[in-house]
C-alpha cells in the first residue's frame, strides 16, 4: 500500500477519535513546550548574567578574600583583605588605574519618620570611575571625606526616592545606625547587578564605614569585603592580575595557599557561562523527562487502541492487509500524534519564552536548535513508542481478531 494512503487512513482514524487523539498528544505538547521554554529561559539567564559582567567593562578586576579552594571548605570567608592591601595595589601596581575597596553591610536607614533597610557600602572616590557609576546630582565621596572620615552619604536613586519622595535630598540629614549623615549626592540610576539593586544603596566613605558602622573586625587592619580594580586598559588586565597576585602574596606572606582570589571580567564570564550552561542542561533534562513521559503516554494509548480495534485489524487482514501494512498504519498514527503534538508544543513553548522575556529582565530567546531537537525528538519518540503497539497489532491473528465480537 502506498504511504500516502496510509497517512490518509491514519488521519481519518485519528480525527474519528478527536478527544482521545488530543489527550494522547497532551503529554508530547507539554513536554515539547517545556523543553523549549526551559532552554530559552536558561539561555536567557546566561545572556543576562553575561551582559551584566560585560557592562562592567573589559578592564575590571575583582579581589575577593579566600582562595577558590578555601571558600569551598569554610562557610565564613577569612577576613584578610584590608584597606592597606588596596592602597598598596594603587601605589605599587603600575598597570592599575583605579582601586576601589568596598566594605558593605545591611542597615536601617532613617529620614525623619521614614525608615527602610538598605545596603551601606563604604568605599573610596575611585569607586565611581572603576565601576563607571557617577552621581546625577551633587558629588560623590571625595579623598577628603575618606581622609577625615566625614559623615557624608551619596544615595542610590531608588533609596533617595523611597526616603525623600519628590523633595530634594541634597543637604538633608539621614540616620544610619543612629549616626547622622549628610546627603552630598544622588547617584544616577544604574539598575540591578546580578539581582542586587545598585540603586538601593547608600555610599559612604570607607573610613567612616569601618570606624563607625562595622567596627574594625580584622586583625590585619581595616577589613574590606571586596576590591574593585580598573586596569589601565584591556591589554594590561593579564599583567595587572599577575602583579596584584604577587603583591598580595608578598603582603600576606603566603607560602602555599592563597587567601584571596583575583578575578578578571573574563574569569567571571567563564564562571557565569559554566553555571548557566549547567543550569540550561539541567532544565532541558527535566523537560526532556516530561517529553519521554509523553512518549510513554502515546505507547499506552496506542496499546489500548490496538485492543479496542482488534476487529478492525482482523478485517483489514482478511481483505488483504499484510503485517507490514498494519505495522506501517499504526506507526504512522503514532508519528502523526507525536509530530503534531510536537508542533503545538513548540508554538506554546515559543509563546512561553516570549512571555518570559516580556515580564522578566531575562532576554529569553527561542533557539532554533532547541526547536529542531524538540520536534525531532518527539517524532522519534512517536516512532519509538509506536513500534511496540504496532507490532502487537501486526502480529494479531485475524481469526481471533474477527471472532472477538
Amino acid at each position: 500500500m502506498e504511504i500516502l494512503e496510509s497517512v490518509k487512513m491514519a488521519v481519518k482514524t485519528l480525527t474519528a477519535n478527536k478527544m482521545r487523539s488530543t489527550l494522547t498528544m497532551l503529554g508530547i505538547i507539554i513536554g515539547n513546550a517545556s523543553v523549549i521554554t526551559m532552554v530559552g529561559v536558561g539561555q536567557g539567564a546566561q545572556r543576562y548574567a553575561s551582559d551584566q559582567f560585560e557592562s562592567l567593562g573589559p578592564n575590571v578586576l575583582f579581589v575577593i578574600p579566600g582562595s577558590s579552594e578555601s571558600r569551598n571548605r569554610t562557610l565564613d570567608a577569612p577576613r584578610t583583605l584590608t584597606l592597606e592591601d588596596a592602597k598598596a595595589i594603587a601605589t605599587q601596581v603600575p598597570t592599575v588605574s583605579g582601586v576601589a575597596p568596598q566594605l558593605q553591610t545591611q542597615q536601617a536607614v532613617v529620614y525623619s519618620n521614614r525608615s527602610t533597610s538598605a545596603l551601606i557600602l563604604g568605599t573610596t572616590p575611585d569607586f565611581s570611575p572603576v565601576r563607571t557609576f557617577d552621581v546625577a546630582k551633587g558629588r560623590f565621596i571625595s579623598d577628603l571625606d575618606v581622609q577625615r572620615g566625614t559623615r557624608s552619604v551619596a544615595l542610590g536613586a531608588d533609596l533617595a526616592k523611597s526616603l525623600f519622595g519628590t523633595s530634594d535630598p541634597l543637604g538633608q540629614t539621614i540616620r544610619i545606625k543612629n549616626i547622622s549623615f549628610q546627603v552630598i549626592g544622588i547617584m544616577e540610576a544604574k539598575g540591578a547587578f546580578l539581582g542586587n539593586n545598585q540603586d538601593d544603596v547608600a555610599y559612604i566613605p570607607l573610613s567612616t564605614m569601618s570606624d563607625q558602622i562595622t567596627g574594625n573586625t580584622s586583625p590585619y587592619g581595616t577589613e574590606v569585603t571586596f576590591i574593585s580594580i580598573a586596569a589601565r586598559d584591556e591589554n594590561s588586565v593579564g599583567a595587572a592580575q599577575f602583579q596584584i597576585t604577587n603583591l598580595l602574596r608578598l603582603r600576606h606572606k603566603i607560602v602555599t595557599d592563597d587567601d584571596f582570589t583575583v578575578r578578571t571580567q573574563k574569569d567571571a564570564l567563564e564562571v557565569v557561562g559554566n553555571v548557566a550552561g549547567a543550569l540550561t542542561i539541567m532544565l532541558a533534562a527535566i523537560a526532556g523527562i516530561s517529553l519521554f513521559v509523553g512518549g510513554i503516554g502515546i505507547m499506552n494509548i496506542m496499546l489500548v487502541s490496538v485492543r479496542e480495534r482488534t476487529q478492525e485489524i482482523g478485517l483489514r487482514k482478511a481483505i488483504g492487509a499484510s503485517q507490514d501494512d498494519i505495522l506501517v498504519q499504526f506507526i504512522i498514527e503514532a508519528i502523526i500524534l507525536a509530530a503534531l503534538g510536537g508542533a503545538v508544543g513548540t508554538l506554546i513553548g515559543v509563546g512561553g519564552v516570549t512571555l518570559v522575556s516580556m515580564v522578566s529582565p531575562l532576554k529569553a530567546g527561542v533557539s532554533p536548535a532547541a526547536v529542531m531537537i524538540a520536534v525531532g525528538v518527539s517524532s522519534g519518540i512517536g516512532l519509538f513508542f509506536g513500534v511496540v503497539p504496532a507490532r502487537q497489532a501486526a502480529k494479531l491473528d485475524p481469526i481471533v481478531a474477527l471472532r472477538s465480537a
Binding site: E5, M9, K12, L315, I319, G320, S322, Q323, L402
Partner: protein, 239 residues
C-alpha cells in the same frame, strides 16, 4: 471445468500434544468454479476451521490446499495477504464494516490494499454498491444503514476485487428472515453471474437456497455432495 478449492488430506491440529484437538482430520474436498455450496454441520464439527483454511486465514497442519491451482501451504504471510486480497471475498456474520468510513470508503478498502488508483476505486466501488442495490447509499456511514443494508455493503466490498471465491461465514446469522431472503437473493444472483460462492451456515432454510451442501462432523466430511433437498433427512439423522 476449473477447480477453485482442492483439499488433499488436510488436517488441522490445535494445541500441544497433551491438549491436542483435531479440528480437521484428513479432509478431501473439491469445489469447482461456479458452484454455490453450503458447509454445514453441528458445532465443533470443524466447519469453521475449514472455512478459515479455505479463506487463507489459517494454514493446514498437514496435507495440501490448492486455491485456484496455487498451493497455499507454501506461501508466506505477505503472499497470503495478497491471495486474500485478490482471490477471496469475505462476508462475515457481524458485517465488520469500519464505522468511521462511508459505505463507499468501506467498499474501496480492499482496492486500497491492492494499490488501485483512486478514480478507478471510486468507479468500481460505485458499480459494486449499485449491484447490491445501494446506489443511493454511497455516502452513508454503517450506523446510518439497516442490518441488511450493512451486509449488502459487506458483499459489495467482498466482490469489488473480482475474486474467484466468495466466502461467507454465517452471512445471515445477524439478520431477520425478511432481510435474509434479500441477502440470499444477492448471493444467488452473484452465483448466477459466475462467482463461486461458499458459505458456512447452520440454518437449513439458508442452506436449502444453495445448490450443494457439504456436511461436516468430527473434523471430517461425512457427506461431500448432498443435494439441498435431501437436507432434512441428514439433519434428522444428526439429531
Amino acid at each position: 471445468m476449473k477447480t477453485i478449492i482442492r483439499f488433499e488430506h488436510v488436517s488441522k491440529v490445535y494445541g500441544s500434544e497433551n491438549t491436542e484437538v483435531r479440528a480437521l482430520s484428513d479432509v478431501n474436498l473439491t469445489v469447482e468454479a461456479g458452484e454455490y455450496c453450503a458447509i454445514m454441520g453441528p458445532s465443533g464439527s470443524g466447519k469453521s476451521t475449514a472455512m478459515n483454511v479455505i479463506g487463507c486465514l489459517d494454514r493446514p497442519t498437514s496435507g495440501s490446499y490448492y486455491l485456484d491451482g496455487v498451493d497455499v501451504a507454501q506461501l508466506n504471510d505477505h503472499e497470503l495477504a495478497h491471495i486474500r486480497n485478490r482471490k477471496i471475498g469475505f462476508v462475515f456474520q457481524q458485517f465488520h464494516l469500519l464505522p468511521q468510513l462511508s459505505a463507499m470508503e468501506n467498499v474501496m478498502l480492499p482496492m486500497v490494499y491492492a494499490g488501485i488508483p483512486l478514480p478507478q476505486r471510486q468507479q468500481r466501488a460505485t458499480e459494486a454498491l449499485t449491484r447490491v442495490g445501494l446506489a443511493n447509499r454511497l455516502n452513508n456511514r454503517p450506523n446510518q444503514l439497516s442490518g441488511g443494508q450493512q451486509q449488502r455493503v459487506a458483499i459489495a466490498r467482498a466482490i469489488v476485487n473480482q475474486p474467484v471465491l466468495l466466502l461467507a461465514d454465517e452471512p445471515t446469522g445477524a439478520l431477520d428472515s425478511h432481510t435474509t431472503q434479500e441477502v440470499m437473493a444477492i448471493f444467488a444472483e452473484l452465483n448466477a453471474s459466475g462467482i463461486t460462492v461458499v458459505m458456512v451456515t447452520h440454518e437449513s432454510e439458508v442452506a436449502r437456497l444453495t445448490r450443494r451442501v457439504v456436511w461436516f462432523r468430527d473434523g471430517q466430511v461425512i457427506h461431500p455432495n448432498l443435494s439441498p433437498t435431501d437436507l432434512a433427512q441428514v439433519t434428522v439423522a444428526a439429531v
